[in-house]
């Protein structure tokens, strides 16, 4: 039983913490996150140089890590500095590409040469891949895609998109170069896109990639949860500092019990969130491990909203301003729940996967 980061992970975490701390302040982040292409190319290059993109893929697939723990270490640091770089979309695309022997493309992405995103979600679909409506049909040796994809994270500015669509044999994966995207910023910064496909020709990577997709999406969920933990601890630091400094009625806010108790509730939820991420990371790839992922996403969804609302309330008016960094953390924590299945979707998934024997 040891909950300390390994030496390598500690070093990786330190490197990212320092790199982002030195080069990525909140003004720069806010500027980039809401202006196309919704991220900073030099930061992306920097992350590639430091090997951070490679941390998302295993050594045998050309990366430098790829375990659930590697991913959680990276994303916790990204969350701490509220990084809008398209790491989530890259993670999803990298995982399915590396699962299907796309070594050359994987290598290009890891080196920062090109960027990819994964199109899975649709307006009428959340967690359940069987609800997917987009289709792929082979006609005269060419695969044609039809349907609409939405919430393609990190797609703006990417070089290609991997699209999931229904085939006769299951959920297939297709490769689309220079796609025509409907791009936008997200409410909390960073780029996202929709993709409308009408007999769009694409290269087929796999006819049935459901296992690979589920695994990639679960890693994405772990990444989001770890990101949330990083963002929560940064937000909590801001909130506690603010309560210690801000004076009203001649004394600091931190001397009021009503506020103290709210801050303590927040702290306990952060510890719980940290624990559930550890649980999801530890169980990833084990039988039933997807349940721990859903528990994590469910708890993080609830706790993220609590952290967000409480931190704004505890700050008072300043917490409502665009200028105050805490406001952006608060937004991110609520919006994380909208990505890759929210608390309700994951409660449904927990119910559907049934009771797990807790005592053996």
């Amino acid at each position: 039983m040891d909950f300390n980061l390994s030496e390598d992970h500690q070093l990786l975490s330190n490197t990212l913490n320092r790199f982002l701390g030195d080069n990525y302040d909140i003004e720069k982040r806010n500027e980039a996150g809401f202006t196309a292409p919704y991220h900073l190319q030099d930061m992306w290059n920097g992350l590639a140089e430091l090997g951070v993109i490679g941390a998302l893929v295993s050594e045998e697939k050309g990366g430098f890590g790829g375990s659930a723990e590697d991913i959680s270490v990276v994303f916790e640091e990204l969350g701490r500095s509220l990084c809008v770089e398209p790491m989530l979309g890259t993670l999803l695309a990298l995982r399915v590409l590396s699962d299907h022997g796309q070594d050359e493309r994987v290598e290009q992405i890891i080196s920062g040469e090109s960027r990819a995103a994964l199109a899975v979600y649709e307006p009428n679909m959340s967690c359940d891949l069987s609800a997917m409506e987009a289709t792929a049909v082979e006609q005269d040796g060419v695969w044609r895609l039809n349907g609409r994809k939405s919430a393609i994270y990190g797609a703006p500015g990417s070089d290609f998109v991997v699209v999931a669509a229904k085939t006769e044999s299951g959920t297939g994966l297709f490769f689309l170069e220079n796609p025509v995207l409907i791009c936008a910023a997200m409410v909390d910064g960073g780029g996202v896109a929709d993709l409308v496909m009408e007999n769009t020709a694409a290269e087929c990577l796999a006819l049935d990639a459901e296992t690979s997709l589920t695994s990639a999406l679960d890693l994405g969920r772990i990444a989001l949860c770890a990101e949330a933990v990083g963002a929560m601890s940064a937000l909590q630091d801001l909130t506690v500092d603010y309560l210690k400094q801000r004076k009203q009625f001649g004394t600091t806010l931190s001397s009021f019990q009503a506020l103290q108790h709210r801050a303590v509730n927040m702290q306990i939820e952060i510890e719980q969130c940290r624990s559930i991420v550890i649980s999801a990371v530890g169980q990833f790839g084990q039988p039933g491990g997807e349940r721990n992922v859903s528990m994590a996403k469910n708890l993080i969804g609830r706790a993220g909203r609590l952290m967000s609302e409480e931190s704004i309330q505890l700050h008072g008016g300043i917490g409502m301003t665009w200028e105050y960094p805490g406001a952006h953390f608060a937004k991110r924590l609520v919006m994380i729940d909208h990505q890759l299945g929210d608390q309700n979707d994951h409660a449904m998934r927990l119910i559907a996967t049934g009771a797990k024997q807790l005592v053996d």
Partner: protein, 394 residues
Amino acid sequence: MDLEFNETELAFRDEVRAFMRSELPEDISRKVISGNELTRDDYMRWQAILNAKGWLATTWEEEYGGPGWDAVQRHIFSEESALHGAPRMPPFGLAMMGPVLIKFGTEEQKSTLLPRILDGSDWWCQGFSEPGAGSDLASMKMRAERDGDEYVLNGQKTWTTLGQYANKIFCLVRTASEGKPQASISFLLVDLDTPGVEMRPIRLIDGGYEVNEVFFTDVRVPVENLVGNENEGWTIAKYLLTHERTNIAGVGFSIMDLERYKTLAQEIKRDGMQLSDHPIYAARAAAIEADLEALRITNLRILAETRDGSAGGVGSSMLKLKGTQVRQELQDLYRSAIGPRAATLSSGLSHNEMSVPYDAGQAAQVYFLHRKLSIFGGSNEIQRNIVAKEMFRD
């Protein structure tokens, strides 16, 4: 990062499991799991079994008859106890009086009193709270006037848990009238059969009998019954209250309760729908399960810090807070799952007459009784104060 116990710890867990399976009387575990009151005899039977094995006084040093376990072993033991429905042994003698005597008692007190705790000759109860002093213990008033070789006690104690089974009580008494309130308190041992001691039951919200009030009228106690020095009682009380409390999060209890709920949910139908398929119940259970899994890990994380010697005091406060929230949430879920039948007092029907599983009839009473979890042992608000003090320290 490694979530697993090491091999020695796993072997220990297996040993405890095997012991629980072979030695824990089934009638006792049934009662524990269904939330029934245990009799004095139930406790004494299990105490004798544990004592024979040397596993009774889990926090005592080996020279006094403890098993010499570390924090992880104690955790494993209490978790396994909960998971198998073993009684939670009343802490007053084993977890409170024993460690206090070992640290502050005279050789005479140690050699006479410690063996009596182990063999069950003495059942201790706690005389701390008073009608006017709950969380604010330092405001207690019960007086002990020195008269020759005796103290003369006058006053009242309350919330004395399982006092009805006890023959001895340890009390905080006021031995001086000046100075800081904390500096005039002493720690005194009293035989409950001393003339002038009167114990009355307090009936609780669920109708059950678990706590008492104790009245002291001119009770004469020999000065040898003092533990530590006169007016040193506050230090001893603080030691007693902060002495490592294993299983404060009650993860094992909650895991059992969740299992019990899941079994129930597969047995009960509501409007023709299996409760386990009822979306609202299932969603609540899923959220609790996530909270509980997180709590399980939080508990292990804090345990690992304790083992590595770097745990802050706030860890046990957090565990108490979240642990009691989860347990109370589970009691509430269980109560609502029973539906209209939860309103029937179980004592009015025999088990055979209940259409729901035999242990479900008491769900509402157990729910009400478990409101105590967030009040005793330092109310959850006190725990928040403790965490806040650390959090807002400069």
